[in-house]
Symmetry: C2
Subunit: 891 residues, 2 copies
């Protein structure tokens, strides 16, 4: 027997089940699972993701087994649904849809109503007893097939869809405005005109053989795995290219056969808040695509989300099917033990389930649902922790609008994705990318969004749409991204050409500032001040469960007492990186710093450093105090000295005046410090080795502050960290300076402080010789930013140019500055951990590069046995959760 490529479902049983997502995709696996659960699913089959890879490997050819099994699959549908593919009397129509292992909503192509031709159309009209429905279905099929399979869809967004142009012409001819005003004759004419246009443009006749149609559609869906939208989405969501998509071929059911038909989508709990209530929207006499596309504003399925009293709920209009739907949603949530996002169609009063999947939700909802499901004893704490995407927590950790601030609300609409955003209006996704590219905060304002807008949506601070409901494209995607969104704002009148939006007579232009409150659905004129987020009780509960489980400590990167306190409030257990150079710029300090740089000898440098000492001591005093009882890692001076000098004419003049020297002298110093590759130049410990007096001053400031606090009864644990170490000898040199100074200060002040001296591991050579370096180090802290720069040979300041291209061309799966490159840079980390611990079994090891706040990188840090990760204050909770997940995933 040949390998199985096609998996049937329907009629209360299925070849597959929910665990087979990799092979059948999410949609196919869940259709199988629903079928197995006895839930009414239109019969169909799934062509596995294996075939997708074969499709690409064999340049679009299928092997015999696939062809044979698809034939058998169609027979299975025919038998189950009691209709026949290509039959004149009772024809079977099918949908052909993509279904990847990970959800990629709207990114790939779909063909509906497949199987129609001049003969089967008669059967459909007879079966539905509705000529207009028949021709409308045919018209939709030809249009969709033409676009998706025959390449009629214009590549440029500027160009109009040729089919839409024809529809407009016919409407104009007839003198009507709406599609719904076209009758069966008009639609029949459209089919003819569509086919002619296809013939004209492609030179081919529209295929009439249902089998030819089917294989065309299957191939088009496989092809759409690599369309631009799909590529972008995969990149944003870290979905590997080799996964491939499955194809689901399924019997059509119709929500648009008349007023006893409907279609809808629903969530088993509120995806915005997590509230435990059945929540959804539907449209009478419509196809499913109409709900998602946001072209008609749908109605609530029940009272829970009803806001407009004129709306009719599904429960009111079709109580029987609604009751059935309720039973199914409860069955599904209890079965999956997870909030579900379901799609259904009611055809002539008969309920069909078209999809169930894990529902996307806001971070707030994710936390609430996870915690409540534990309380409902549906899941355990470990599962709850795993259910929340750490990255998504970011939404909860950023400021919201200050409640006490004045806000001029100019419109209210659906609170589609919570959060607060302020930015400048742009109307096109391309513009959004361009504006954001130059650092502007922008709000993307659209009549409605479509998958083509994904790039612009991704860079927007907030999204505002004039049309579409809570499950519209804009709403779903925004929630997934954690971007604030206000949707379906009917008061808005948008003129794309003029780049204006008008609200009650007021015109807002591109570039004007507006704010969105995604939690309330408010559109606000101008900027609104923000306030710190309140972390809910559920959040606190989830965090405490995570803390119980995780093995990694979480520290923060903070340079001020203020940031230290904020991080501590977020749960930081120490400072992993305090950069001292930022302190050098404030107020009068920069003058002393420049004096030191200009000095020609050690004595001159020492006298300038003496002026800096009290400032630094005060800095450290404040930070140590804020972090009492916790370790504080302070890095000695790192950047090259030229960063402290002005490089433009004007400021050089000012500096010259301030320092009482000539501008030429300033310029001469700037030139003498110029470096071709400052990243690889005279910086880090190399400075401290050239000018030990700098390290000495910093060590003194640290120890004096620590001793002072010790005297005041505060516990301090300074960890002095030497940057850019490449050899053991460098560390030994700087350690000697630190220890000598520390001995002096402790003697002078008459107290002893428990301090450590350690090193950054950020130079590949230090990682490779970590066994030697560890002889001098009390701790290691991985500086994975620089380690990545040097291991890859990428300057972070310059690599932007080609890193995007590299991801587009599949040369790199991720930006290695965002997610640690485990297979390359990660080897250096592993080598260093192993060698370091070989020398010192209990060597304390952490990470202070930006990867310390990236969940996937945290998983790696856990696996290699680090003691802690350190990240920016706002990412501390993310790291706490990610650390717990790392422990769970690697058990």
């Amino acid at each position: 027997m040949s390998r199985k490529y096609v998996y049937n479902f329907g009629d209360g049983k299925a070849d597959g089940n929910a665990t087979m997502k990799e092979l059948l995709g999410g949609k196919g696996a869940n259709l199988a699972e629903m079928s197995n659960l006895g839930i009414p699913v239109p019969a169909g089959f799934t062509i596995s993701t294996e075939v997708c890879n074969q499709y690409y490997d064999n340049k679009g050819q299928y092997n015999e087994a696939v062809i044979e099994q698809v034939k058998k699959g169609i027979e299975h549908i025919e038998k189950t649904m009691g209709a026949k593919f290509g039959d004149k009397k009772n024809p079977l129509l099918v949908s052909v849809r993509s279904g990847a292992p990970a959800s990629m909503p709207g990114m790939m192509d779909t063909v509906l109503n497949l199987g129609l031709n001049e003969e089967t159309i008669e059967g459909i009209i007879q079966q539905s007893n509705n000529e207009r429905f028949g021709w409308d279905s045919y018209r939709r099929f030809v249009q969709m097939y033409g676009d998706v399979v025959l390449g009629m869809k214009p590549e440029s967004k500027e160009e109009e869809d040729p089919f839409e142009l024809i529809i407009d012409e016919v409407k104009e001819e007839k003198g009507v405005l709406l599609d719904t005003e076209l009758d069966a004759e008009d639609l029949k004419k459209l089919v003819e005109l569509f086919k002619n246009e296809i013939k004209k443009r492609t030179g081919k006749n529209f295929p009439t053989d249902p089998w030819e149609q089917l294989w065309g559609a299957v191939g088009a869906v496989f092809s759409s795995w690599n369309n631009q939208r799909a590529l972008t989405y995969r990149k944003l969501n870290n979905i590997p290219a080799h996964w491939g998509t499955a194809v689901n071929v399924q019997s059509m059911v119709f929500g648009n056969m008349g007023d006893d038909c409907a279609t809808g989508v629903a969530f088993t709990r509120d995806p915005a808040t997590g509230n435990k209530q059945f929540y959804g929207e539907y449209l009478v006499n419509a196809q499913g695509e109409d709900v998602v596309a946001g072209t008609r504003t749908p109605q609530p399925i029940n009272d829970s989300t009803k806001s407009d009293p004129t709306h009719k709920t599904l429960a009111e209009i079709m109580p029987g099917p609604y009751k059935e739907l309720e039973a199914i949603y409860l069955k599904l949530e209890n079965h999956y033990k997870e909030m579900q996002d379901i799609e259904f169609t009611i055809q002539k009063g008969h309920l069909w389930m078209l999809q169930t999947r894990t529902g996307k939700r806001t971070a707030a909802a994710a936390v609430r649902i996870a915690v409540e499901m534990v309380e409902e004893k549906l899941i355990d704490k470990t599962t709850a922790i795993s259910r929340v995407d750490p990255e998504q927590l970011d939404q909860l950790l950023h400021p919201t609008f200050d409640l006490n601030a004045d806000r001029k609300v100019i419109a209210t609409a659906l609170p589609a994705s919570p959060g607060a955003a302020t930015g400048r209006i742009v109307f096109h996704a391309d513009d959004a990318e361009e504006w954001a590219g130059r650092g502007e905060d922008i709000i993307l304002v659209r009549i409605e969004t479509s998958p083509e807008d994904i790039g612009g949506m991704n860079v927007a601070k907030g999204i505002l749409t004039a049309r579409g409901g809570m499950t519209s494209h804009a709403a779903v995607v925004a929630r997934g991204m954690g971007t604030c969104c206000v949707a379906g704002c009917g008061e808005l009148s948008i003129d794309y050409r003029a780049k204006t939006m008008t609200v009650e007579g007021t015109v807002y232009n591109e570039g004007d500032w507006i704010s969105l409150d995604g939690s309330k659905g408010e559109v606000i004129e101008g900027k609104v001040p923000t306030a710190q987020p309140e972390l809910s009780g559920d959040f606190g509960k989830l965090m405490s469960w995570a803390d119980d489980i995780r093995k990694l400590n979480i520290r923060t990167n903070a340079d001020t007492p203020h940031d230290s306190k904020a991080a501590r409030d977020f749960g930081a257990e120490g400072i992993g990186l305090c950069r001292t150079e930022h302190m050098f710029f404030e107020g009068d300090r920069i003058k002393a710093v420049r004096e030191m740089i200009l000095a020609n000898d050690e004595a001159g440098r020492r006298s300038a450093l003496e002026k800096l000492l009290p400032y630094q001591r005060d800095d450290f005093y404040g930070i140590f105090k804020a972090m009492h009882d916790l370790p504080v890692t302070i890095r000695t001076l790192d950047p090259p000295l030229h960063e402290f000098l002005p490089h433009d004419d004007e400021n050089q003049e000012i500096m010259a005046k301030e320092m009482g020297i000539t501008k030429e002298e300033v310029i001469a110093k700037v030139n003498s410090l110029h470096e071709f590759n400052p990243m690889l130049g005279h910086r880090g410990c190399r400075l401290g080795i050239s000018y030990p007096e700098i390290t000495e001053m910093q060590a003194r400031a640290i120890l004096e502050a620590a001793c002072q606090l010790k005297k005041e009864g505060v516990n301090v644990y300074p960890e002095i960290m030497i940057p850019l170490i490449g050899t053991k000898a460098e560390l030994a040199n700087q350690k000697e300076v630190v220890v000598k100074t520390a001995d002096e200060v402790q003697k002078e002040m008459g107290v002893e402080v428990n301090y450590k001296v350690g090193t950054m591991i950020e130079i590949p050579r230090a990682a490779l010789t970590a066994d030697e370096v560890a002889e001098e180090a009390d701790f290691f802290s991985f500086g994975t930013n620089d380690l990545t720069q040097m291991a890859f040979g990428y300057s972070r300041d310059d690599a932007g140019k080609f890193l995007k291209e590299y991801q587009d061309k599949n040369i790199l799966p991720d930006d290695p500055f965002q997610t640690l490159d485990q297979s390359g840079v990660g080897q250096l980390v592993e080598i260093a951990v192993e060698k370091g611990r070989k020398t010192k079994k209990d060597l304390k090891i952490g990470i202070c590069g930006e990867h310390g706040g990236d969940p996937r990188s945290i998983d790696f840090c856990h696996r290699v046995g680090m003691n802690y990760v350190s990240c920016s204050p706002f990412r501390v909770p993310i790291a706490r959760l990610a650390a717990a997940q790392a422990e769970i995933n690697n058990k």
Copy 2:
């Protein structure tokens, strides 16, 4: 029994022998060996190098055993020499000299005549029957001891030695000019004045107790291991600090007791040419230091080097001792099977040997001696290969003066170190360093040189002295360095203050150009054109022996047919690195390159590249032809594009005019290509990935040239090398472009060429993931320049600032850009070799970084199993020899 620290010698036997150099130093081990051979050596003992390390560890303290054994050692000398330390009647006087495991001539301190005081002086006068000799010895002792042990020697070279000032005063008082005109009374007075000066400056009395004198001198010698000269010398010669020096305490013998006394140095073969003849110089009635210091011009020991008929040879004057000396030199050379550098003293007709050691020699002499000793069956070929320092061969591989050129010889003197040099005159070592530091070629002109001048001698192209013989300091050091030297040029009158030298009335100023022919001893006015070196028959023989032994292939880095041919003549077995970017600058090409850079789209770039194609094809045609039958590795474009644009105002203007655009457009392009760290920016394969058409053009040029030659019956083996690969995907991307183009060209031209596609390994990540990279690579070539930059995080352009400091502070043993850092960067090389070969067992692996020409790095390349090293054409013979030595050393 306690550990042995002190080793006796003398009287036909010894505790040590020649193999114990590490413990006894070279001098001590050889004194022991000579003693064992029955050669007359004044009795003495050696304090081992272990004690030197203890001396530093214990801050100048000695343990009991050392003190006890030194006492026993003095007893041994007393017994053997029949004199007594501190005895009034027959006092024993000793010398205290350093002796490190490696020769460090003149770098450390020595004390002679130790044991003299107001009482023993009487015994010496009695024994020598020469009052003046007695007081002169005492005077020398007090002066030397004062300088070396009591710190009377001024630290600055500007300051005069206080003892010399006193001598001058006394001479003035007496109205005489020469030291020799002072009589016993005068010398006695000097001793008194010296002691008073010492008391005045140090507050201490000059020690009279011989034991106190002895321990003072021993400590001073140990201390001198770390004086500035010694540190500099060790750095230049890669001698590790932890070796330490031994101290030799030996009975004094005197060459200055009268006219039946003499002292001299000799070589068993001619150290300049290698000619097999006994060769040396001596002075009657003198101490050994007088010969080496060059203060009196010595006489030849025999006719072989006699040039001045007025000179008397030792053979003529003292035929007995000379005959004895002849027997000893033959015995020594036969014993050591190596050319010896010997020192002797004749005291009242009795010959004493004071030292034997392997003689320094020029590269030409080294080659000749090694080859002739094989022919004499003294040594085997393997030993001969090991005897020649590959680095030294450099001397033989550089141009000599063109024999046909006019040369105005202004003076002729001793051909002290062969070679040809042209440069500008400087008179002080400090100035030499300064001038050379700014890139000037300089000739150091001195009356005589001293160890203080070592830094200046090291940077000079040539050295010219007015005084001193073939074994003077200048001559010995210059030969060791391979620097051309003309010595003892009496026609020269040098005025240090005026910075002039006058030859027969013509005044030459600082900065004037002169040339030196070190092989003929000629001083030439102005610059002289140079000619290629002729490689002697001995050289060819040695090379062919090396070729028989070595396993590594030797390739060259060459970018032109001319260089390729030169390298092939030097024995290169292929090209390991042909850089294509150099070709982009010639003539009209740069215009096409700039056109490509300015182009806004692929079509524009392609049209510019089309203009470059014929140039590149011709380049490769020439190189392939020159290297017929040998592999040629061509690297695709590597540097960032901004390197091809002008950065200064004037040239930007010119370019704008040439290209028919505005200067602003040029500047805008320059700015848009600006990078913060170009080393880590958009270069290497990253360019080829962004603009595949560049790689395509280069692949086409290579293949078209190769196919053309193939058609002409020439065998070509192109190896296309992609630079800056960090990931397998990058290489796969570029390989695809190359292979596709190669397929096309081969089809077009109707021939097939055996070509390979491989990669540089120069990015740490590529080394770490070499198993993956090897899947796409036919070969690896280590780019250790960049690999060192990235593994250390050093920008080669900027690191000069601190690398010198790092070596001075013992943080780095070597400049890692000169000698591969085996313990760090080397790990990446080892990892890559191992992983690469794990994927492809027979993967061809080489190195094309500059380390490929460095003997120590070549040893490493051999050990890790590379197939070849590639270096600059002039270093090919060095690499051939080093590769043979690597095979010998690692067998």
